[in-house]
Homo-oligomer: 436 residues x 2
């Protein structure tokens, strides 16, 4: 049985295809079933026969972004697990592969733990996927490379656009807790002076004053500015800007009360629609709204207008769901590794190992060539469930990847990320040969 | 002399390469110069030697989105033109190619008219580019096909995403006056039940009530909904929603005053930053803000909450500048035609014709194969400058392309648009074979 869970990626179906492809080669496996919408589909016995799909269909699905089986955001409890095992027993399911992110590793761990307690003979494996790259243990995670490629190419385009019609452009990038995806915007830099000229990560905190003054400096030097900001942009308390009392207080101090009124008005809309949304795992909704980008644009617009006494061309985009599911932007390396992780999980499970999460490890290479191996880690180490309370259950960017002034990444980050995104689009530039 | 003007596209540099490639083959042409930032660069004599670029650089630039020479939004007046001719005379410029959209056709027409009045011997040609496809005369316009491909693939991804985690997703698409680009979202439909399930175009008007009730109907039937909306979404008076008194009045009537407060709060921010922005041609800024998408999400969220008594998963994205400049999403047909239009303009100019705009015309074909010819039209017919006052100077979608219920396009539109976007990404789907 295989299922998919959490937010989709461009290559989550490659992992599915990897599981199926490998499982087809083992006589011990009598049937290969896909659970629709992850654990929810297990509970309602909604299964797809993956053996019956045929190679052509599976290969088409593998190339298609988003979860082909459908996804869910469901955290199984002990009673759910008992029900799951009843259903598994009925269909003689002894191998379960769950493709997903942090929360899915947690769910897989719960299922594994209760299977052991209940003495249900089950091999349970977590196949990693996330565009955020915030999974513990692994060097990087399938799904990240393709999302990073999308972000890099979106910033390439935005940089060229901003060069062509100068002004200030702010782009908000996905990644709630970790800045890996926002950092990938740095890969858009090809020619001298290329943006992004400033990168704000959730691993650091920013005041409104710091934010606008840094942009002011960049604009003064370049006559344009392309800014990359994580949706997890936070204040010194770790609160995201839209929900930050510190930001509100600072806006008032900066005589931008008009923005506090707007934030209040925005909050009241949520109240009229049933209140702020938290998912089953307790995360607030940050994506699917342009509010942060609009706030950043407004703050900057007012600041620059006051400084220069005239309007600066200012635009802000929220890169949106295209980051995780745009059709037609896949990193070759990412697709291959996603496939590999699914196939490897099946091989490890069939070798007799009862549980684990599939991870990647870079090998040192004299030539600098990208070489990456795959290995099994303990479920608990990846989900972080055994961590001391209060310790982060996800992987933030390490300090050596973030510039000391907190407004950029380091060359080490670019070196780490570059092989993961595969081929990037061409970014040509006319030679500055003036008419003689 | 060649220049680029207006909003960039993915293939505007292909047109530039077409001009250069053709000009290089004619001995009569002694120099090939690019004006940086269009007419602005002419006025400040900021030229790039395009002959000195070399083939490799030009081909790299051709594959690069956005205006390699830099762009502008500048409407030349009579005095500017006199200045332009002085500079042209100084450098012996007798051929001028201006790559741009409606406003650039207008600018080219002004330069042509004043050249004639001033007896300055000049060949002036407009090479079309626009992602909006709203140019008069031509069947379609270079730049549209690639933007339409981006929109189609973004909607493919959003549809798969929405299938995988059901809810309501609203995407706002560029296109101020005409719905061509929004309509291209229909090309994302591959499998049964695929979205977008509703398409709102600027050629029609919509009340808030119509909008939310249509979504309610779709959601009831499909348990999910993917909605495509033009940034030019307008009320019955032709005013865009964010600036519509009718929409405000209706929101109050629907007891959604909280949204009117939010619209007021948004308006006040603009006042603090120097007032609402109009460009040199008098157009209001619609892009580069998530406000419309957030308004539509909020209206729908409140409506659905009241109808169902529970929250529906609701997200909205504004597709943003990636539509016109994402690096790595180019329609092959579009790239070829953009190149062709530049080269053809040079050939027509060198044959002695004094002015014109390059257009495309589809040929009837028995097999259904896409066959398209290129021809010269009068500048004035393309810019619409001679139109009676009040008549639209751009091309809206024709009635036969819009569904009678105004919430979709017709099969005729899909047939018209499909060849323009070239190859589309794969959208595979698992066969619904249940476990036996």
């Amino acid at each position: 049985m295989v299922g998919q869970s959490g937010g989709p990626t461009a290559v989550i179906n490659q992992s599915l295809a990897g599981v199926v492809q490998e499982a087809l080669q083992h006589d011990a496996i009598e049937g290969i079933y896909g659970a629709r919408n992850g654990v929810e589909g297990v509970l309602r016995e909604d299964f797809v026969d993956l053996r019956a799909q045929g190679k052509y269909v599976m290969e088409e699905v593998a190339q298609t972004p988003s979860a082909g089986l459908g996804s869910c955001r469901f955290k199984p409890k002990e009673d759910d697990c008992k029900e799951i095992f009843k259903i598994f027993e009925k269909h003689n399911v002894r191998y379960f592969f769950y493709i997903g992110g942090n929360d899915s590793a947690l769910a897989t761990g719960i299922i594994n733990k209760i299977a052991q307690e209940q003495n249900y003979d089950l091999h349970v494996f977590h196949c990693p996927k996330t565009i955020d790259n915030d999974l513990l243990v692994t060097d990087h995670c399938p799904g990240y490379g393709s999302a990073a490629k999308y972000v890099a190419q979106a910033f390439m385009g935005n940089d060229l656009d901003n060069r062509s019609i100068p002004g200030i452009k702010i782009d908000v990038v996905m990644g709630r807790n970790a800045g890996w995806l926002t950092a990938a915007s740095a890969l858009a830099r090809v020619n001298e002076g290329d943006g992004p000229h400033m990168i704000c990560l959730p691993e650091r905190s920013y005041t409104v004053k710091e934010f606008v003054e840094q942009i002011e400096k960049i604009y003064a030097a370049n006559k344009r500015a392309l800014i990359s900001v994580s949706e997890g942009l936070a204040d010194a308390d770790g609160n995201v800007w839209l929900q930050s009392d510190k930001v509100r207080a600072e806006l008032k101090e900066l005589e931008m009360g008009v923005l506090v009124d707007w934030m209040d008005a925005t909050g009241k809309i949520e109240d009229s629609a049933g209140g702020a949304k938290l998912d089953a795992f307790g995360h607030a909704q940050l994506s699917g709204s342009g509010a942060l980008a609009d706030l950043l644009a407004s703050v900057t617009k007012i600041h620059m207008y006051r400084k220069l006494g005239k309007k600066v061309r200012l635009r802000a985009d929220t890169l949106g769901y295209a980051q995780r599911s745009f059709a037609g932007c896949v990193s070759e390396a990412d697709a291959q590794e996603a496939r590999e992780s699914g196939a490897f999980a099946v091989r490890v499970a069939l070798s007799g190992t009862k549980s684990g999460s599939i991870c990647f490890r870079r090998l040192p290479s004299e030539s600098g060539k990208y070489l990456c191996d795959v290995f099994r880690a303990e479920l608990e180490d990846v989900s972080g469930v055994n961590f001391p309370k209060g310790k982060k259950q996800y992987r933030p960017m390490e300090d050596n990847l973030i510039a000391a002034d907190k407004f950029d990444v380091t060359p080490e980050f670019v070196q780490w990320a570059r092989p993961l995104v595969g081929t990037l689009a061409v970014k040509g530039m006319l030679l500055p040969v003036a008419k003689k």
